[in-house]
Amino acid sequence: MKVSLIGFNKAFENRARLGIMSVLMVNDTVDFTTLKQWLELTDGNLASHTRALEELGYIACEKRFVGRKPNTTFRATLQGREAFREHLAALEHFVKEQK
C-alpha cells in the first residue's frame, strides 16, 4: 500500500526532538536542566538535539549566567511552532487514513 508522506517533517522523526518540541509548545520558556529531566536525556544527547533544532530555526536559545552558573533557556520560534503543527496534523491524518 502506498501512502503519501507529504507533511511529515524529517526534523521530528527522532523521539527526543519530538519531545523537545512538545514541551516547548506548552511552555513559553524551559531551561536546560528541566528539559533534560522531563525528557530523561543525558546532557550531551539533549545538547545535540537542541543544537540541531536551533540550526533549523525551530527553537531559539538564550544563554546567560545565574551567579556563576551558566543557564540556557529554550523557546519555540514561530517557524518551529508552525512546522510542529503541520507535522502533528500530518500524523493525525495518517493515523485516520489507516483505520
Binding site: L5, F8, E13, R15, L18, G19, S22, V23, M25, V26, N27, V30, T33, T34, Q37, W38, L39, L88, L91, E92, F94, V95, Q98
Partner: protein
Amino acid sequence: MDNKDAIQDLESIRTMMERSSRFQTINGWGVTLVGLIALAAAAVANGLFYEGTDSWFSTIYGNTDYLWSHKTRIAIFGAVILVIVCGAIVFFTSLWTAKKKNISVALDPNMRRTLFNFAVPLLAGAILCLALLVQEHYGLTSSIMLIFYGLALINCHHFSHRLLGTLGYLELALGLADCFVETHALLFWALGFGALHVVFGILLIVKNRRG
C-alpha cells in the same frame, strides 16, 4: 513510518505535553491523613464546645459568649497549628512521591506555579477570616474558609492534578451552601475539610496505582 509508529509518536507528544504542564506528584496517603486529622479535630472541637448538650454539630457561632473566652483562643490557636501541620504533611509526602519517581521537585516550574496560584486566594481568604474574627462577625467563618479553599484549588488545578479542580468545585459548593445555613458550621467544616479529603485522597491513591 507505519501506523504503529505514528500512534506512538502521537502518544509521546501527549505524554510530554502533559508531563511538562502539570505537577502530578501529589501523595494520596498524605491527603487522606489530612482528612482523618480534620475529622478528629472536628470531633474534639465538638466535644469542647458542646459539653452536656445532645446537639452534635449543631451551632458553634450561635452562642457568642464563648468567643474570645479561654477555650476559643485555644481552639483558634489549635486550628492554625493544625493547618500548618496539614500543609506540611501534604508537602512532604508529595516530595517523597517525587523522589520515588525520580523527579526533582525543586526544579519543577509547575510545582512553583501550583503553589503560587494556590497560595494567593488562600491568603486572601485567611486575611478576610482574621478581619471578621477581629471585628466579631463569626457567622460566616466556616463558609468563607471553604469558599476560598475551593477557589484556591480551582485556581491551581491547571498546573496540577485534574482532580484538584473537582475537589475545588465541591468545596466551593459546600461553602456556598453553608452561607445559607446559620447553624451546623462544624458539620460543614468536617464535611469539607475531613470527608472530602479522605475521599479525594483515596481516589488519588487508586489513580496513582493505575499510573
